[in-house]
């Protein structure tokens, strides 16, 4: 059975005198390296030029806010359960009166930490999240000299209202279709839900 067309038969033939001089081979090699002087270089000058990521690239996480600026996360812990690397930990808190603008539901995550050294960026947290709160983005986790620096708390994960992070590129048509299943209709506006209850 032939698997490739690059098969070479091994031979143990003696080297001829010319081969033993090595000079033709050396000159040949030097011509090859010299020819590389004029080849196109694939280098990407990183900070100035950036490689374009695939639309489904999974980078640093974000905790999304909803349209009114309230945090979507309700600290249900599904992401932590789904996480194969056990990188996610959280503590829940109860929403007080007057905090309706801050948190979407009665329960919220008081602390939410992802250990970026453990995280394998598999995206299971994103899939597990019933509230569409956590997403992986196209951002790169920055480097650090200390291990502590890699434990990302809410200060780094929750998106800022003035710097909303677009995750629509990650949403393939399949995902969008999946999210439209009636049983999973959890993504409507908070206020709309309240209005519906009144009718």
């Amino acid at each position: 059975m032939q698997l490739t067309n690059r098969k070479v038969v091994v031979s143990n033939k003696e080297q001829s005198f010319v081969e033993k001089m090595y000079f033709p081979a050396i000159i040949n090699g030097m011509i090859i390296t010299f020819s590389h002087l004029f080849k196109k270089r694939p280098t990407i000058m990183y900070p100035e030029q950036k490689r374009e990521f695939a639309p489904i690239y999974r980078g640093q996480h974000v905790l999304k806010r909803d349209e009114n600026g309230a945090e979507r996360c309700t600290s249900c812990g599904m992401c932590a359960v789904a996480c194969p690397a056990e990188a996610i930990t959280m503590e829940s808190g109860e929403r007080k009166k007057g905090e309706e603008g801050l948190y979407r539901e009665e329960k919220y995550a008081k602390t939410y930490e992802i250990n970026m050294l453990r995280c394998i960026f598999c995206g299971l947290c994103e899939e597990a999240c019933p509230k569409e709160a956590i997403f992986l983005t196209d951002r790169i986790v920055s480097s650090d000299f200390e291990r502590d620096g890699f434990i990302y708390g809410k200060d780094k994960l929750v998106e800022k209202m003035d710097q909303r992070i677009d995750v629509s590129k990650r949403q393939t048509p399949e995902v969008l279709a999946f999210k439209k299943i009636p049983g999973l209709k959890h993504n409507e506006l908070h206020t709309e839900k309240l209005n519906k209850g009144k009718h």
């Binding site: 090699g29 030097m30 390296t33 010299f34 590389h36 002087l37 080849k39 270089r41 280098t43």
Partner: protein
């Protein structure tokens, strides 16, 4: 007399500065050239095309922590890199950078000193360089350093022999003179020594690679076998001096090859060019143009050294010894015999 002293000190300082400058920028060019040969860009961050890189490297070397091992022989440990770099620079004394210029009736040679046993001086000084390596490796009191040093000195001794015999053939071709300046001046007629000494040049070139500890003969410092070779225990600027001396050696031996075999400051149609420009014999402009020609040849040779480094893999130690003793030595003897025959028929030798 005062004029003579000023002119000699000026040329000394100039050669010193150029040697160090070239050594510094060789490190940059080595990295750049390596990058270009390997489809990369090489240094590009410090300054335009990374041109400030040698300064940054020098600064780093200066401010790094200096470590002298407790068990070392401290005096020799400090002496070794100095000895190595001094011998490296000393070989540059002989190089005649341009045709002598005549001003106000005085002849100014573009050379620090025209020693009439120049070739022997050159061989002697370059072989002192091995003391730097040997002392450095021994005084570290580290067996890997010592092994590296022994390998390096054995290699140098093996290749010195073939180099010396190749040079004897060269001396016969240039009419028996041992003076560097005369050997270069004799190639004025437009025929460089390479025409009469192709095999000799090849032997000399390979030996020069081995003598300067350049790849593929850099067995003194193969990381995988000997940690770091003879300079394993060295840090900061003392290590810098060792590496610097290697580049100075490379510069000097490139200049020597360009002078001995490729005509030095002479180049084809030089006299036609000078006549067209209306320059008198002994004009300083001729010296300057000659210097340009010599320097270009030297830089090309440095690039060839690097080109070889990034093409040919390192020799195994027994292969190195085989090449030195079983190939280059007989070849250089053959070359010597051939040279004598050829020179007899050219009429340069009479019995």
């Amino acid at each position: 007399m005062l004029e003579f002293i000023i002119y000699k000190s000026l040329i000394c300082v100039a050669v010193f500065a150029v040697s160090l400058g070239i050594a510094a920028y060789s490190t940059w060019w080595e990295r750049k050239f390596a990058g270009l040969l390997q489809d990369r860009w090489g240094p590009s961050r410090a300054g335009v095309w990374g041109l400030l890189q040698p300064l940054a490297d020098g600064g780093k070397m200066l401010f790094k922590e200096e470590i002298i091992p407790n068990v070392s022989n401290k005096f020799l440990f400090v002496l070794a890199p100095g000895l190595f770099i001094v011998t490296a620079i000393m070989a540059g004394v002989l190089i005649p950078w341009g045709a002598p210029a005549i001003m106000n009736g005085t002849t100014y040679a573009m050379q620090i000193s025209d020693i009439n046993v120049g070739v022997i001086f050159l061989l002697g000084v370059t072989s002192i360089g091995v003391y730097g390596i040997m002392i450095g490796g021994w005084s570290s009191n580290n067996k890997y350093s010592l092994l590296g040093a022994i390998r390096s000195s054995a290699q140098m001794i093996s290749y010195e022999l073939a180099m010396g015999i190749a040079l004897i053939a060269l001396i016969i071709t240039s009419g028996g003179t041992l003076s560097f300046a005369e050997i270069v001046a004799k190639q004025d007629a437009g025929v460089a020594n390479i025409v009469w000494q192709p095999l000799g040049f090849l032997i000399f070139f390979v030996c020069a690679l081995a003598e300067t500890n350049r790849a593929p003969f850099d067995l003194a410092e193969c990381e995988t076998e000997l940690v770091g070779g003879y300079h394993t225990e060295y840090s900061a600027f003392k290590l810098g001096l060792f590496l610097f001396a290697e580049y100075i050696n490379m510069f000097v031996s490139s200049a020597v090859m360009a002078g001995f075999y490729f005509g030095g400051y002479n180049f084809p149609f030089a006299h036609e060019l000078y006549n067209a420009l209306g320059l008198q014999e002994g004009s300083w402009i001729i010296s300057l143009i000659g210097f340009g020609a010599y320097f270009t040849k030297t830089l090309i040779f440095i690039s060839v050294f690097m080109w070889i480094r990034w093409t040919i893999p390192r020799f195994r130690y027994d292969q190195l010894m085989n090449l030195g003793w079983k190939s280059l030595l007989p070849l250089s003897l053959l070359n010597l015999a051939l040279t004598v025959v050829v020179e007899y028929f050219r009429g340069n030798i009479k019995f």
